[in-house]
Amino acid sequence: MIDVQHLSKSFDLNKKQQAELGIKSSRVHAVDDVSFTCQPGRIYSLLGPNGAGKTTTLRMIATILRPSSGTVKVDGHDVVTHPREVRAAIGFLTGSTGLYQRLTANEIIEYFGKLYQLDKATLARRKDELFSLLDIHEFAGKKIGQLSTGMKQKVSIARTMIHDPQVVVFDEPTSGLDVITAENIIKLIRDCKTREKTVIFSSHIMSEVDLLCDDLGIIHKGKLCYEGTMDSFRQQFREFTLTEAFIRVVNQPAPIA
């Protein structure tokens, strides 16, 4: 369960960054008073155009960034006061996540398992399960640098799930992947749902959202401009295609509840 209340994040910009981004003020509000909750066993999708604040929001949930104001609770633990507990409960994966090129899949999974404080027996069992599930065994001893994109993606998934997290955060998980490789991620997200985990993922692709999500939040310019279940969204915008509906929500002046 993820509970986000009045979450805001602003960044200070120096002169150079202001010039680069074409912004006059020295502060930008990347996320502005955002509230939503994600329930276990349901898939929450954060949809928004590039630069809307999706990544910043997810990074605050994953304790990578500190909120400027507002609270985030992950399974009851506050991200600011109890980051360790939050991190132990979360699995985090992005489309641009890399792996250590010179290590093998085995070594990477063991490294992360140890840092997640798994005991030896649990680590060995989880690793074996995941490697079987994802067909990693046959290339487990090869260095990551020698693997294909699809193989790397599988290792990344195993890395994300090694500590059996109750909450899974995916930041544009399929970006840059081909359809076949992206399918691994889709399967993973569905699998997390059936196992009653809390799943949140961000995307700017409506079709992907349509395929997976139960609850939808549309974010634009740092503000949440739509929140509701996917079913009610479909109902409300019956006469449009989903992509058209998405564009309408983003372009309208006032938020729709």
Partner: protein, 397 residues
Amino acid sequence: MSSILTIVKKEFLDTFRDRRTLITMIVLPLVLFPLIFGLSFTVQKSLAEEAQEKELKVGLIVEGNQAAELIAAVEATPKLSLIRGIALEDTASLIRNDSLDLILRIDASFDSALVRFESARAMIYYLGTEDDAVRKRLEAPILAYEQTVLAQRMQALSISPATVDPVNIDTSHDLATTQEQIGKLAGGFLPYIFVLFSFIGCMYPAIDLFTGEKERGTMETLLTLPVNRLDLLVGKMIVVATSGVVSALVGIISLLVSLQFLDIPDMLREPLLDMAKPLTIGLLLLMIIPLAVFFAGVLIPVATYAKNFKEAQSLITPLNVGVIVPAAIGLMPGIELNVGTALIPILNVALASKEMLAGTVDFGLLALVFLSLIALAAVSVVLSVKMFGRESNIMRA
């Protein structure tokens, strides 16, 4: 604590699989000394031998039968042939195009000056870019001839040798031991190399372990682990600093091995080996540890800030100057370890090792060097912690 250990182990494994890091950290310091010693001594030796051994062609410009005795003495010199009948206007071209090595020109009034007890002139034309030894081979018989003439004149005038040497300065009482002399010379040069090695040894691991995490897209993942950021930093810092120490250590080993097995003049080898006492080497290494921590502490904030390998390298390259300049100042004679210089980082290491190698170190000052290095290392660690904790650095991409 166990997290730090896990991180250290993984980073060492990763570092030792990186060819670029291995080359700068191990291979470079390993081969540099044999290369420097091997090349410089072999080349120097063969050049010196050539200057001594080759047959010299000396052109002679003389009018009539002037300076017959002198010319006979020159002609009798081994491996030197006199070529007569050279025209004065050809001197420059003959020497420049290597037809002749030297030209000896006897003044027209040579004999008459000798008779009048005046200075008789003999001129040598040579190329100043060649080895001095060539010219000296021609000068030697002339100087010997001068001595005989001088002895004859003094006898004729009844002057004793003591009369023309009223004050005798005797410089044969040098109290400095060979170790001290060579220590002052080599002692400045060696730490210069170790300081550089330890910096270069830290450099690539720092870039790889910090900037590399960003470039590979593993930084985010790392930060979502239930590990304190301080533990992450400490684990990585241990690896970076150790790499610097290993690099310097390999340099020292390579130096000792080269001294033992390469063809190095004994007058240099023995005092150098003599200096390499276990205590000296031990103290040197002990000094390199806080120095390497300091280097790691300077490099890590830069590597944390940099977006990619290229940027990290361009930011770090100017830092090299900051390492080379104080180390080079330590090479200069006359700069000594005192309360002031003991506090200047890098320079203090160069000076302290110079004194240690010469066997003249003041242990009070050495302690001061250690203290200032440790204080500086601590400051740089705090700086690293701050920079690593800053969101804007970690997420700068």
